[in-house]
């Protein structure tokens, strides 16, 4: 294993772990505060309060773990990619400072909120939840803006000696790509948190526990995710078209498209070998149409750049993209099912779907959303290769010269494996804490 490979894998492991946990830090508080607010509106409804209270406990654990798994990323930026940081930290660093403050505020109000149950008047307690939601969203926007900058670098020039000059950190921060990517990420966070949080209650439904407590436990997070999902379809589509216009080589990798051609097909699945995508299901003109609504539109293929400038593994990018889109479509279908039943049962007391198949599908929606999230992140990161700063700096020029990264990478595997097992165990324990009968049995 060489250093570059180990460094990339270590970054992927720590970011891949953090991005999942961070989704809960960003999106879960909205669900908790919503439940508490509804409880407050209904004279401190004990069912809703119990839900909010238990969720906030889960949230407390996830936030703590997310905080520390995020911290080590800021160490790793320097440990693994010192040349990248040394040259470009001055360009993209400012949004990280903003993120730092957002994170400060999130931590402060989480401290107040979690410890403030029963100590602060209800209305004030709900208000202390608002800054948690806002700062979590802002933190996401700021962090994603840096990733977006790596894909669409700007706000600097490179002079003839290769030095970075004319640095303009504000120009680096604000551009269309940031808006699209951060919205895409935020919606993904709500889908991951919402679909995952509804899983235990879908399970409860299948086990025959269908009182108000379990129904609301399902409905609140599922509804958050259900609202985000159709919007995500639109933003995802916008995002793909943005990639087509800004990073045509990445798009070609996502589609496994070698030749630059008009009437380009949309390819599903298949294996990319020897500059050709084989065994794929192809929709004629599909890609040209999706990008420009026009079959004559010419789509740039991988051949347009030298082999050195293409992502090293097209299959990973192509399959990750298809996985994300496939799961996203499946989730959209599940949401459509839910919406249809909800509308059809509008005169009934319990409007939730009654089919066991719906809840079986909902069980898969949580893990599915997580897989889609990671796939999407693989598309954007692996698809950017071989660049760390798109068309400006290569990963091999950014990586550290330190010799021991292989060992720190293996060490991190040990830690994250233990941590994942421990976290799942702890969450299961929290979920199994008994629910008072007078709450669980409200019909």
């Amino acid at each position: 294993m060489d250093t570059l490979f180990a460094a990339r894998q270590q970054m992927a492991l720590s970011l891949g772990w953090h991005i999942v946990i961070a989704c809960f830090g960003v999106a879960f508080p909205a669900m908790v505060v919503f439940a508490e607010w509804r409880a407050h509106r209904h004279d401190d409804d004990p069912v809703l309060l119990t839900l909010a209270r238990r969720w906030s406990r889960v949230f407390g654990v996830l936030f703590a773990v997310g905080a520390v798994s995020g911290t080590i990323l800021s160490f790793e930026f320097g440990i693994l990619w010192p040349e990248f940081m040394a040259r470009f930290g001055q360009v993209f660093g400012v949004p990280f400072a903003m993120e730092g403050f957002a994170f400060f505020l999130e931590g402060i109000f989480i401290g107040i909120y979690l410890y403030g149950w029963d100590r602060v008047p209800r209305r004030l307690h709900i208000l202390t939840g608002i800054p948690i939601i806002v700062s979590g969203i802002l933190a996401t926007v700021f962090v994603v803006s840096v990733n977006s900058w790596m894909n669409h670098p700007r706000g600097f020039d490179i002079d003839s000696s290769g030095a970075v000059t004319n640095v303009d950190p504000w120009a680096a921060l604000f551009h269309t790509g940031t808006a699209i990517s951060s919205t895409h990420m935020l919606l993904a966070a709500f889908m991951v948190a919402g679909f995952t949080a509804s899983v235990p209650y879908a399970w409860a439904w299948l086990k025959g526990r269908r009182t108000r407590y379990y129904r609301l436990g399902f409905l609140i997070p599922f509804t958050f995710a259900a609202i985000a999902t159709p919007v995500q379809l639109v933003i995802g589509d916008t995002s793909a078209r943005w990639v087509a216009s800004q990073q045509p080589v990445k798009l070609a990798a996502m589609e496994g498209l070698y030749e630059t051609e008009s009437d380009a097909p949309e390819s599903l699945g298949g294996i990319y070998v020897d500059d050709e995508l084989r065994y794929a299901l192809q929709i004629p003109c599909g890609l040209s149409f999706l990008i420009a609504f026009n079959c004559d539109h010419e789509v740039q293929g991988l051949e347009s750049v030298p082999a050195d400038d293409r992502p090293p593994n097209i299959n990973i990018v192509h399959w990750a993209f298809d996985t994300m889109v496939g799961i996203g479509s499946g989730l959209a279908a599940l949401v459509a099912w839910f919406a249809f039943v909800w509308w059809r049962r509008r005169r009934l007391d319990v409007r939730m779907p009654q089919s066991r198949w719906f809840y079986r599908a909902a069980l898969l929606a949580g893990p599915g959303a997580i897989v889609a999230l990671i796939s999407g992140w693989v598309v954007t990161e692996v698809g950017r290769q071989p660049w760390i700063v798109y068309e400006t700096m290569r990963v091999e020029d950014a990586v550290t010269t330190a010799g021991g990264i292989v060992y720190t990478y293996l060490g991190l595997w040990v830690i994250y494996t233990l941590l994942t097992v421990a976290l799942l165990y702890v969450l299961r324990r929290v979920a199994r804490m008994p629910i008072p009968d007078d709450v669980a049995n409200v019909p």
Partner: protein, 340 residues
């Protein structure tokens, strides 16, 4: 003062906040480690959990703040420090993960066996994380981090006399701070038994830290002459102030003036950090890399200061609110378990 100096001073203020508040949290972990068996140490551990619970995440954000300001404002220095000192920094990062998750897991765990496992993860990493961060400080302060294409020795840059002094001093300082803070918290809760326990620890930690610092004079003279000359030169008033702060803390703990003891302990830590800064000024990396050599362009520095200024408007009142609530005892007990 140049723009770069202002940014560096702001970063140093962040580092100071981390050393005082984060340091006290680390030290609390050390006292958790030596609190004794599950039964005997229970009340001490409850106090520790209670005191750091609402604030440790926030106190911990200061290290992120420091790193971000360093890589934005002084990117080359950041790259050099991280690539030379990657071993202790990776170990500190591992420690940060194990510590935070151990603490969070222990709080929601009810069985003693598992509390012991998470507690050990929290408490042990509370000791070795500041140790490794201290060795990083020692490596930088003793001029073992070169700039540019050179990378310092990945082993001797942090396994050397100054780094070991830095590591040990960091741990004992955290213990000293935490004992002073915890004594005051125990006193505030009117728990005389805990007051007695932490007061003795505070007195002991004050003496130990003082002795380590005195021994350090000899170490620095041999191993880090540039720093040493700075410390007995421009940094001397602050070094003396720090010593006075330590002795005062001891006296105040002795006299049972716990509120003021805490202030004096924090003052001693603040003084020693700024003494170090004064001693090293204007070098970021000894012996020859100055602040201006590695500073980002003014466009970045001013943008950074604007963001920090605006951020501070939101941060400072919120922080004060959090600390005031935990001071007033609004958080003085474990959050009640969810109904049931």
């Amino acid at each position: 003062m140049t723009l770069a100096e202002v940014v560096l001073a702001v970063m140093w203020a962040g580092l100071t906040a981390y050393a005082v508040f984060g340091g006290a949290d680390f030290g609390a972990g050390l006292w958790d480690l030596v609190a004794g068996g599950a039964r005997r140490g229970r009340r001490q551990r409850d106090l520790i959990t209670d005191v750091i619970g609402p604030v440790w995440e926030v106190n911990h954000v200061w290290i992120i703040f420091v790193l971000v300001v360093l890589w934005t404002g002084f990117p080359e220095a950041f790259g050099a420090i991280m690539s030379t000192l990657y071993i202790p920094l990776t170990l500190a990062a591992f420690g940060i993960i194990l510590r935070g998750s151990g603490f969070a897991f222990r709080k929601v765990t009810t069985t003693v066996e598992l509390q012991r496992v998470w507690g050990a993860s929290f408490a042990l990493s509370s000791v070795f994380t500041p140790f490794f961060l201290g060795t990083v400080a020692g490596g930088v302060a003793s001029g073992r981090v070169p700039l540019g294409d050179d990378v310092g020795d990945s082993i001797t840059s942090w396994l050397n006399p100054t780094s070991l002094l830095g590591g040990v001093l960091a741990v004992s300082t955290c213990a000293f701070l935490a004992a002073a803070f915890l004594t005051r918290e125990a006193h505030h809760r009117g728990d005389d038994e805990l007051v007695a326990q932490f007061r003795i620890r505070g007195l002991g930690a004050a003496v130990a830290t003082g002795l380590i610092a005195l021994a350090g004079i000899g170490v620095l003279r041999e191993d880090a002459p540039e720093l040493f000359h700075g410390l007995i030169g421009r940094g001397l008033p602050l070094v003396i102030l720090s010593g006075v702060g330590g002795v005062t803390t001891f006296a105040l703990l002795w006299a049972r003036q716990f509120v003021w003891a805490r202030v004096a302990a924090a003052g001693a830590v603040v003084a020693v950090l700024w003494g170090w800064a004064a001693a090293q000024y204007p070098y970021v990396l000894e012996p020859s890399v100055t602040i201006e050599d590695v500073a980002a362009p003014n466009a970045t520095l001013s943008a950074l200061l604007i963001v920090i200024g605006v951020g501070a408007v939101f941060l400072v009142p919120s922080l004060l609110l959090l600390y005031r609530m935990s001071e007033r005892g609004s958080f003085s007990e474990e959050p009640p378990a969810p109904q049931g």
